[in-house]
Symmetry: C2
Subunit: 158 residues, 2 copies
């Protein structure tokens, strides 16, 4: 086994990820996965917040900035869930998560919910760059997908 580039790799892989993997594991550490998907949710929240604040008039509408936020929201929503939502990485099993067991027992429903956000976020990219009215119209499906998914698949506060 070669250990090329290891010092540089150690720089690359933040402490969150690098130290949490045990030798020979077949899947990534569940606690690291929970932190990573929460980090991704922060990106979703941040970029949705920019768009939402423009929609509400609390942040000046800027087509380039709105497009950037929409691109980031879309990319975060479309992250491959295979390494983020592993079975058993649920509330009551892994500390800090509010992920309900229904994410895995109703995997098709969860997938549909996730795809709803992906679709709404992808549509926001061109809407955000068009004008404020288009941005506002595209917010509805985004907000609805967030609310629907959280209602069905997010447990109570820990």
């Amino acid at each position: 086994m070669r250990h090329f580039g290891l010092p540089i790799l150690t720089l690359a892989a933040a402490a969150i990820a690098a130290s949490a993997f045990a030798d020979g594991h077949a899947t990534p550490d569940l606690e690291s996965a929970v932190k990573a998907r929460q980090a991704n949710m922060s990106m979703i929240g941040y970029n949705t917040g920019i768009l939402g604040d423009m929609a509400k008039g609390e942040l000046a509408y800027d087509a380039a900035m709105a497009t950037a936020a929409a691109e980031n929201l879309s990319a975060a929503a479309a992250m491959n869930r295979m390494v983020l939502w592993m079975e058993r990485s649920e509330q009551g099993v892994v500390a800090g998560t509010r992920a309900k067991a229904e994410i895995w027992t109703d995997a098709d429903g969860f997938d549909q919910s996730a795809v709803a956000l992906e679709t709404a976020a992808a549509a926001m990219i061109s809407a955000a760059g068009t004008d404020l009215d288009s941005l506002r119209a595209a917010m509805g499906p985004i907000g609805a997908s967030c609310g629907d998914c959280h209602k069905a698949y997010r447990g109570p506060r820990n």
Copy 2:
């Protein structure tokens, strides 16, 4: 100004983003931007960690999982920087960040560094799905880009 969907939007926009924007701001709040790019860096670290652990033999090689990690790394690396790396969101100005002023005074250099990771991460997608040797070969440019960028543009620990 319409406030359609506001309760759902509030669900959508995590506390990080939603509460930090003041009325009439022309750019997103810098502290929120710092937290968002750190969250994105966590996603970069987590997914790079999966690939790095496979390269080192500490996590069993799995083509589908490696591809998923590479796709996520690539998406995180390619996030639009306009809403993440705003001027003055630097160490000594905004709490918690280690971003050096050189990110903005040497914007072309920073951009080249960022593009180096984007390019290396994009190449990892097919390499990761091919076999372990290909994955290992594709790790070099990723690790190098991380190290180069951190050396040039990341300040000392706060």
